[in-house]
């Protein structure tokens, strides 16, 4: 696959980010059914399946170059978005190895990795990088290994140490998050960092998910989709920057709702890491405006139904009350009420 990058796209101020037709079909639409409720929606992360976003271990798309630049800007303004606690050094190298090996294997036209013993050479063509370094020797890279490689990947990443039958979020690169603070969460355990989520604790979702993750096996990663909605194609919706993006919610009108309101989907992947026995959590964020989503008829209809019938606690938690009704009204005329197939597949081969 050859990717046509769009290096000048922006995720702030003038928001020039758009999805090509191919990118819309590539979008991991998150609703297999007409209703949405929290569940342990985890499945093996194997190639192929209902969305083309599953075709590669780490998905790279047309927004890659622009997203890496956006990440660099966020880090320049707030370096604390990337932090790793000292006991996670082995996990840093594990992450670098996992990303480099899989990017090089999945996208040979764009990335290459060659090894002569511990001496590794990494080439990232889209970003114009060529780096030789000694694996395991942090001083041979321009910055620590976890930061080095996650600056060159789309989506956020966190590192979970496993101890005392729990997971602790002891490292992360978090610049494209949906309203949660890594600086606040670092060092917390699984139930602590999930504290603010409504309904799911009572349903036992987090108890079961944690047990499942504690048993996660090396070589057998898993994935789940999570979603929310964001005004404008803004990647950095962090609590730290709430004053910058919060007011955007008031800018939605019935006239602009189709372009302004974006379905924000996170393709979350979880990998057991070998040296550290830690878990790497990838949170790959996809944005598509309602107008873009509705170009796939099945998705437009289903999104209408999910938003129309959404549980009020989930609506409030995700911060949707100001514009949810406008989104429902925008989508309603597109929904003829026809029965839709189970699953997230678009059922289209081209747009």
């Amino acid at each position: 696959m050859t990717l046509q990058f769009k290096p000048n796209e922006t995720f702030r101020r003038d928001f020039t980010y758009r999805n090509s037709s191919a990118a819309i079909l590539h979008f991991p639409f998150p609703f297999p059914e007409d209703q949405y409720m929290y569940s342990v929606n985890i499945e093996p992360h194997v190639k192929g399946g209902a969305s083309p976003a599953y075709d590669h271990v780490f998905d790279v798309d047309e927004h890659y170059v622009a997203e890496c630049r956006e990440r660099a800007q966020v880090l320049a303004e707030d370096p604390k978005r990337c932090q790793v606690l000292p006991h996670m050094m082995a996990a840093q190298w594990d992450t670098l190895e996992l990303l480099m090996e899989n990017l090089a294997a999945d996208y040979p036209a764009h990335f290459s990795l060659t090894k002569a013993g511990d001496l590794w050479t990494w080439i990232n063509r889209p970003l114009g990088l060529h780096q030789s370094f000694t694996f395991g020797k942090a001083e041979t890279l321009p910055c620590p290994p976890f930061e080095y490689i996650t600056r060159q990947a789309q989506g956020d990443f966190t590192l979970q140490d496993q101890r005392e039958d729990n997971l602790y979020v002891d490292g992360g690169m978090v610049t494209t998050q949906a309203d949660w603070s890594f600086e606040f969460d670092i060092g917390m355990s699984f139930h602590e960092w999930h504290g603010p989520v409504p309904l799911a604790h009572e349903k036992g979702v987090f108890d079961r998910a944690l047990k499942y993750l504690l048993r996660l096996q090396y070589g057998a990663p898993v994935r789940r989709l999570n979603w929310t909605m964001t005004i404008n194609p803004r990647l950095d919706t962090s609590p730290e920057n709430y004053p910058v993006w919060g007011p955007d919610k008031a800018s939605v009108t019935p006239e602009n709702v189709g372009q302004k309101v974006h379905l924000r989907v996170e393709l979350q992947t979880l990998y057991r890491l070998p040296r550290s026995n830690a878990i790497l959590f990838g949170i790959r964020c996809y944005l598509a405006s309602l107008e873009e989503v509705a170009r796939v008829p099945k998705w437009g209809k289903r999104l209408h139904r999910v938003l129309r019938d959404l549980h009020p606690d989930i609506e409030a938690y995700k911060g949707l009350p100001r514009f949810r009704q406008m989104a429902v009204d925008y989508l309603a005329p597109l929904d003829d009420g026809a029965e839709l197939s189970k699953g997230i597949q678009s059922e289209l081969t081209a747009l």
Partner: protein, 318 residues
Amino acid sequence: MIASGPIPVRIHEIEQLSPTLKRFAFAPLHGGALPTPSAGAHVLVTLRHEGRVMKNAYSLVSPPESRERYEIIVRHVAQSRGGSRFLHQSVARGDVIEIGVPGNLFPLASKARKHLLIAGGIGITPLLSYVPALKARGARFELHQLCTADEAPVFEKLLAPHAAGEDIFIHGNGRAAFDLAGILARQPLGTHVYTCGPRALMDAVITSAAALGWPAGKIHRESFGDASGGLPFKAVLAKSGIEVQVADNQTLLEALEAQGIAAPCLCRGGACGECKLEVLDGEVEHRDDFLSAAEKASQKFIMPCVSRARTAQVVLDF
């Protein structure tokens, strides 16, 4: 590394370490690199002999950075279930066998201020991968190996490449002369203890450490986990009348899929609830985290991705 099934490997080297110990080195059959192993990891080795299939878990003794070859050490046990005898007597250099992706239920603790390693006999094996990893991390550790007097030189030789300047001790005079409580008592705060070897030794380490007030989270014993299999059984699908045999090393879900039956599933690990089926007859050995205690007790449901029948047959409303 993303796995895609078992890994075929060639027996690259066999070394007789003692009358009952052999070291086997495996290299990937098709070249390239094996998955990165971790300190303390084990692999499941599949052995096929005279129509029998045996799966045995062995700790990797090669250092974690070794991806050109893995090494295991196997003791020939007189009353062996077959695996160790087969490896000792029937496997030769150049043979091809299958191994699984390394798993690790005995990992190093990342926050330990010091690591205290106590092994007995062949229990040394996971520690042989620990030591180079600890040295590479610059971590503080102390290793005690208990063994019989005749085997002391064998273990000394195995540890020799790592031993210079380290706190590595070999105790060849048996348990009686080994001051376990004294060693545990003089460890600095923040030490983690790891033990591997005969059950009696591991139990002694765990009870002594607990008695001295060590927190449970700082005491680690080696484990290969529960084998996922169990006794074979038959599942009868009431709606279609189809009968499915579930083999000992297979889940009910896998057996249904092998018959081309599209059974619902998602997580394949007993957590999501997607695969739930109703049980009309037979008893279930529940292994999932999804059903409530009351649902489990009712014996009305089964999660085919992990749970099995306790009876020879179960009838499902499917």
